[in-house]
Amino acid sequence: MKCSDTGALLDLLMDGALREDQLEALEAHARECPECAAQLEAARALSALMDELPPEVDVPLTAQAAWRGAVRDEAKARRTRRLTRWVSAVAAGAVLVVGVGATVLRQNARQARMSAVVQMADADAGTIENAYEAAANESAAFGAVMAGGAAGDAAVLEADGVSLSMAEPAETAAAPMQELRVKVDDVDAACDTICDLVSEYEGSTDAQRTDGGANLYVTLPGENLADFMSAIAHWEIEGEPAPAGAETASLLLVIHP
């Protein structure tokens, strides 16, 4: 064995891959070569020190709270951005959108009424508040809208660039609204996830905050109901939706902790 072999053998030693015969050769050479003997001793000391270091270290509670809080803030900001984009898209697509407080008018296809989604968008409250103010100023029309309007009439309110219009929805075959109670750990996160899922399954959601929870009024194409129910099956759900068959499925998801 030569001194130039020492480095490679010491790497095998540190990897725990040194064979017995290789170790004997290394030690025999170290007895003859003080430099390699010092290298061998240093390698053993280094190996012992490294072995004592734990591969995992408990994260201090303050650091845990810090990163979880940062992620939570990021999630909230993401929901706000998404809601703002959704509100803008809906407004542009001529559906009634008013943002104040937590009042919701529920869509009922049979009675041909429009539902209004009312949520405060933190990042873009201006747009939504302006829309509400404008709608409130048009009180007669807004009142008609709130009452369901004259059947068959379309009311259009133009205000601050937000186009609010509504028309009696076409009669479609729909199942009666089914109420399901959904138990979750985090109401906000669950509502966000469910809204995304409904959107994926080509449905629409109206949301209403309740004390500690939320009511989500979900409308879906009937053919997507089963897949949607599978996607939310990981939560504890009381109640069963009506079997698929209707063209449109209507659900009231009562989200509670």
């Binding site: 480095g7 490679a8 010491l10 790497d11 540190m14 990897d15 010092a38 290298q39 001793e41 240093a42 390698a43 053993r44 000391a45 280094l46 190996s47 012992a48 020190l49 490294m50 004592e52 270091l53 734990p54 591969p55 995992e56 270290v57 408990d58 994260v59 201090p60 303050t62 650091a63 845990q64 810090a66 990163w67 979880r68 940062a70 992620v71 939570r72 990021e74 999630a75 993401r78 929901r79 750990d185 985090d186 996160a189 669950a190 966000d192 996830t193 995304d196 899922l197 990981h234």
Partner: protein, 196 residues
């Protein structure tokens, strides 16, 4: 690992990809301690290590929908963690050296409850010196040797985490160990194993 664990992780990943913060927190609970250990050994400072942990968590959360599954989730997580640490180290290259006091905690100097006070003092001294030696290594060598000799990853796993080939991993580790041995040789009285 049991199949059930993979299925649970897959479900959490799917939910986290949709922005579910609760699912993300649960998913990362399995990786948090190791991520922090890597950050500690790379940053040589508890404050910076905690900053890196938070930044890495945010990068992972933001990037969840870009996780395509070509590598294992763990490999992807530790790649982001290591890149976050390397970015921080490069960013503070021009800052004055920070104190190593924060390292003399459990991460670098785990206390052996069975050891005598004298032995713990000797061990602590050795480990503090090792921490200083590690801090003097170039970052790419430090990353490789931390992942191998402290975290216990295989060479192929390290290649995946650092996004380099296995030959380069082995070369960096070999050079890092050589530099560390030289520093240990220079202080034989400190690292004499008979003292412990």
């Amino acid at each position: 690992m049991e199949v059930g664990v993979f299925v649970d992780e897959e479900k959490l990943i799917a939910r986290a990809m949709r922005g579910d913060a609760a699912a993300f927190n649960e998913l990362m609970a399995a990786h948090e301690k190791r991520m922090y250990a890597v950050a500690l050994r790379m940053c040589a400072n508890t404050e910076d290590a905690q900053d890196c942990l938070q930044e890495a968590m945010l990068r992972i959360y933001r990037g969840m929908d870009s996780f395509k599954g070509q590598a294992s989730f763990a490999t992807w997580v530790y790649r982001i963690t290591m890149n976050t640490c390397l970015d921080e180290l490069r960013r503070r290259k021009n800052r004055p050296n920070t104190s190593l006091d924060g390292l003399l905690e459990v991460g670098w100097s785990p206390q052996d409850p069975a050891a005598s006070p004298e032995k713990r003092a000797v061990q602590g001294e050795m480990r503090a010196e090792l921490a200083r030696c590690m801090k003097e290594l170039p970052e790419d060598m430090r990353a490789a040797v931390v992942l191998r000799d402290v975290e216990g990853y295989a060479y192929e796993e390290i290649a995946g985490i650092l996004n380099i080939n296995v030959g380069t991993v082995k070369s960096r580790i070999s050079r890092a160990r050589e530099k560390l041995r030289e520093k240990i040789k220079a202080r034989p009285e400190l690292f004499d194993r008979k003292r412990v």
